[in-house]
Structure formats: structure tokens, C-alpha cells
């Protein structure tokens, strides 16, 4: 289980998180939604130590992981994979070598074995036929699929997806959604998904948390978001330009 307890974070004078508390249960698919700048990506990066909180605690399976050293975070990061918003593939490597890199670094496998393992991961996202090409040859969507394959190489217990379906065509987005669902159903992987994609939210999420101005507005199953009379939530879900939200 993942627990964010009263997390505060500011960058300079800009207060991004103002006391967010959130729990994610084992095997659950938790979507975090909210307008741009609400603090969604900042919150999830606290789990793997890419951002440290000004105040508050992060607990992973009962162990506090709030302010570890960089070396102490490595075992946590092997358990909690992260797929970044802008894919972050390494430009100088082929897609296959991108996916093989963590395998090569963390498992005692030969280069050939690591590559074979990487090809199997690329097949999960239908990209194995492009294995020997470079990231620059592809658009955002296909790069993002490869980044997902790379994140799964360490067989993580938790995966953070930062806007995994943004910029992807509907068919690929469906493949990604199905993959997230399969990870949870078949392997018990816990997923935190930062997303704006309403189709994914109502199709895949077990629970949805909405942030607004660095605070939690609503936390519950997707059906709750249709039923609630919270004006901020309704404006966001229906994409209305007018309403109480400052966009």
C-alpha cells in the first residue's frame, strides 16, 4: 500500500501541494486527475524520491520512504517503476537498447539475453518490429509505448504512469489501458495513473482522486464523479470553460 500523508511542496514562492493525503491500496488502479499545474505529477514523483516534500510523509508497504538518500531510493525505484509524461527514451540508443538497459544493469544477463528479454517487453506494446530503430524516428505516442515497456522490465510491484495516453491514437490508448488493467488483474501490480483522459478514467480506474490548487477535492470510485454535485469536479469532467475553476 502507498500512503501520502499531508504532503506540502513549494517551488520558490509557488506552493504546489498544500497538505495532500492519499492512500493507494495493493493491486488498485488509482487515477489522479486535475487541471494542468494542480500538482499531480509533483505528488507522484515523491514516491520514488525524484522530488522531496517540504513537509509530510510517504509510506510504502508500511515503511517510511520520505527522505532517503539517493542510494537508499534505488531498491524502492526497482519496485516502483515510473513512466514519464514525455517518454524520456535515450536518444542515442535503439528502442531495443533502451528497453534492454535496465535489464542489463540490474539482472546478471548477457547482452544477448537482455536484448531477448527486452524484445518480449516490446511485444507487450506491439513495438517489437521497430526494435532496431531510434526514438527520433517515432512520434510521441509510439515513444510512450516503448517507455511503458521499459518501465515493466524490472517486474515492478507499483507503476506510476504520468499521462500515458496523452498524444496517443485511440487504438494505442486502448492497448495501454488494457495493459494497465492486465497488470493489475493478472500480476497484482498497483498503478497510479496521472491522466486527463476521461475515456481511460471511466474505463480502467478503480478509484479516482482529483487535485485542485494543490489540495484533494474528491477521492472515490469513478461513478462518484458522475454523481457528485461538486461544482469544480463537474466543470472539469464536463470540460466547461465557465465555472469556479481557475484555469
Amino acid at each position: 500500500m502507498i500512503e501520502f500523508i499531508d504532503i506540502h511542496k513549494a517551488f520558490g514562492s509557488k506552493q504546489v501541494l498544500r497538505g495532500v493525503s492519499l492512500e493507494v491500496k495493493k493491486g488498485e488502479i488509482m487515477f489522479i486527475i486535475g487541471s494542468s499545474g494542480a500538482g499531480k505529477s509533483v505528488l507522484v514523483k515523491h514516491l520514488v524520491g525524484l522530488i522531496r516534500p517540504d513537509a509530510g510523509r510517504v509510506i510504502l508497504d508500511g515503511v517510511e520512504v520520505t527522505n532517503l538518500t539517493e542510494e537508499e531510493y534505488y531498491p524502492i525505484r526497482k519496485r516502483c517503476a515510473m513512466v514519464f509524461q514525455n517518454s524520456t527514451l535515450f536518444d542515442s540508443m535503439t528502442l531495443l537498447d533502451n528497453v534492454a538497459l535496465p535489464i542489463r544493469k540490474h539482472f546478471k544477463l548477457s547482452l544477448a539475453e537482455a536484448r531477448s528479454e527486452a524484445k518480449a517487453k516490446l511485444a507487450l506494446v506491439n513495438m517489437e518490429q521497430h526494435a532496431e530503430r531510434y526514438p527520433a524516428d517515432f512520434g510521441d505516442g509510439m515513444r510512450k509505448k516503448v517507455a511503458i515497456a521499459r518501465a515493466l522490465t524490472l517486474n515492478p510491484d507499483f507503476v506510476i504512469f504520468d499521462e500515458p495516453t496523452t498524444g496517443i491514437d485511440p487504438i494505442s490508448a486502448n492497448i495501454v489501458d488494457r495493459l494497465i488493467r492486465d497488470l493489475s488483474d493478472r500480476l497484482g501490480v498497483t498503478s497510479i495513473v496521472v491522466s486527463h483522459d476521461l475515456r481511460s478514467i471511466f474505463g480502467v480506474a478503480d478509484r479516482v482522486a482529483m487535485l485542485y490548487k494543490g489540495q484533494l477535492v474528491l477521492d472515490g470510485p469513478p461513478s462518484l464523479y458522475r454523481e457528485t454535485d461538486n461544482a469544480i469536479v463537474q466543470q472539469f469532467i464536463n470540460g466547461r470553460p465557465q465555472g469556479p475553476m481557475e484555469v
Binding site: V48, L50, E70, Y73, Y74, P75, R77, K78, A81, M82, F84, Q85, N86, T88, L89, F90, D91, S92, L101, P102, K105, H106, A147, R150, L154
Partner: protein, 261 residues
């Protein structure tokens, strides 16, 4: 233009001082982190070979051309004086002394800072602003051992080796120019070098090349890893890296020359 008030002037001076202190401190910490990874060696073999090839093999042609012309220029500059005093037997010594001790390491150091250092900063800076460095950390891969140590080894080692290649090439260029312009035979040029140049002259220059290599590697990596602000930030970092490397090369040269002279 309106004159700055004393308090504003003081505040700007303080900000500039803090920025320099942050850079110097950052570079010192980075050098410590890199050296700590060298004993015992913790680095990625494939990445090291890739960098050795990129830094060494790809820099060799430009180093050879520059060094050849530098040797020739040394002879052209000293040619008139040599002819005036009929001191043709000292031509090799003059060219070699200046090249081995000073001009060779400086020229190759500046070349390296412009070609290799700038490239290193741009590559690391782009990785930083596109979250690729964070992606490495998220994959539990240490960016110091994976990215910086291989680059450090490649730059320091290749700076040292290419200075040897450059020194030899500069002497060949000097000997050839001496024959064409002044009619000094290559054997007379070579005997002058062998008779008057000591191993100390060679090692003095190579020691400089070694320290310049460390400076270029640390400065370029520091500015790359602290890049922020997108494409504009990458450009700014590359500019800072080249300027700081060049200044540091001359500062180090001054102190090493003062101490070893």
C-alpha cells in the same frame, strides 16, 4: 543610462559572487563524486567504449590538422630570427620547446573544450531538460556511474593521448616547414630536438594536458547536469561551459608553469 544605487550594485555583486561560488562548489562536489566511483571502478563498460570512440577517434583528425599547422606556424614565426642569427641548428629546439611545453597542450585543450566539452554539455543538458536524467534515476541507475564517469575517463585519457599525437604531428609540421622555408634538413631539425629537448619538457606539457582534461570533463559535465530552461537553457549552458573551460585552462596553465618552471 541611470546609475545604479550602491545597494543595487552590492546586491548584483553578491548575486554574481553567489553564482560563481555555487558553480565552483558544484564542480568540486562533482569531481569528488566521480573520483569516488573510480576507486574501486564503478562504470558502464559499453558507455565507456562509446565515449572513448566518440571523444578519441572522432577528435583525432582535427587534432592532427591543428597540430601540424601549429608546428608550421612556430617555425614561420621563428624563421626570420633564426635566419638573421644563422642559428638553423636551434630551429628544432625552439619549435619543440614551445610546442611541447605550452602551445601543444593549450591548443589541444582549447580544441577539446570547443569540440568535446561543448558536445558533452549539450548532450547532458538536453538529457536534463527532457527528464532523461530523472528517467535513469527512476530506473535505479546512477547517472554518475552510468553517464559521467565514462565521459570523464574518455575526456581525460583522450586529451592526454591526443596531446602526444599532436606533439609529434606538430614536430613533423615544423620540420617540413623548416625544410621548405629555410632549407633546414629534417635530420638537423631532429638532432636539435633530440639534443636540447629533455623528457621534462615533454612531461611538463603532458601534465598540463592531463589537468586540462580533468578541467574540461568536470566543467562540461557540471554545466550539462545543472541545465534548466529548455533549449535556451542548453545554449546558455554550452556557452558557459566553453568560456569557463577556456578560462580554467589558462588559469591552470599559469599556476602549473609558475610551479614547474
Amino acid at each position: 543610462m541611470q546609475a545604479l544605487s550602491p545597494s543595487k550594485l552590492l546586491s548584483r555583486f553578491g548575486a554574481a559572487f553567489m553564482a560563481i561560488a555555487l558553480d565552483v562548489g558544484g564542480m568540486a562536489v562533482l569531481l569528488y563524486q566521480i573520483l569516488r566511483c573510480l576507486v574501486p571502478p564503478r562504470l558502464d563498460g559499453m558507455e565507456t567504449w562509446r565515449n572513448l570512440y566518440k571523444v578519441g577517434v572522432k577528435s583525432a583528425p582535427i587534432v592532427v590538422v591543428t597540430a601540424m599547422l601549429t608546428g608550421a606556424i612556430m617555425v614561420i614565426q621563428s624563421g626570420a630570427l633564426v635566419a638573421q642569427f644563422d642559428a638553423f641548428g636551434l630551429l628544432g629546439w625552439g619549435a619543440a620547446f614551445a610546442t611541447l611545453r605550452e602551445v601543444g597542450p593549450i591548443m589541444i585543450g582549447l580544441m577539446f573544450s570547443g569540440r568535446v566539452g561543448a558536445n558533452n554539455t549539450a548532450e547532458l543538458g538536453t538529457m536534463k531538460v527532457t527528464d532523461q536524467i530523472d528517467a535513469l534515476r527512476a530506473l535505479a541507475i546512477d547517472p554518475i556511474t552510468y553517464l559521467l564517469v565514462p565521459r570523464f575517463i574518455a575526456i581525460v585519457l583522450m586529451m592526454f593521448l591526443l596531446t602526444i599525437v599532436g606533439d609529434l604531428t606538430a614536430l613533423v609540421g615544423g620540420a617540413y616547414t623548416g625544410q621548405v622555408l629555410l632549407g633546414v634538413s629534417p635530420s638537423l631539425f631532429a638532432s636539435s630536438v633530440i639534443e636540447y629537448i629533455t623528457l621534462e619538457d615533454l612531461f611538463n606539457g603532458l601534465f598540463k594536458a592531463f589537468t586540462f582534461g580533468i578541467a574540461i570533463a568536470v566543467v562540461s559535465s557540471h554545466y550539462g547536469m545543472t541545465t534548466s530552461g529548455g533549449a535556451v537553457g542548453v545554449g546558455r549552458s554550452v556557452n558557459n561551459s566553453v568560456v569557463a573551460s577556456a578560462v580554467l585552462i589558462f588559469v591552470l596553465d599559469y599556476f602549473i608553469t609558475s610551479i614547474l618552471h
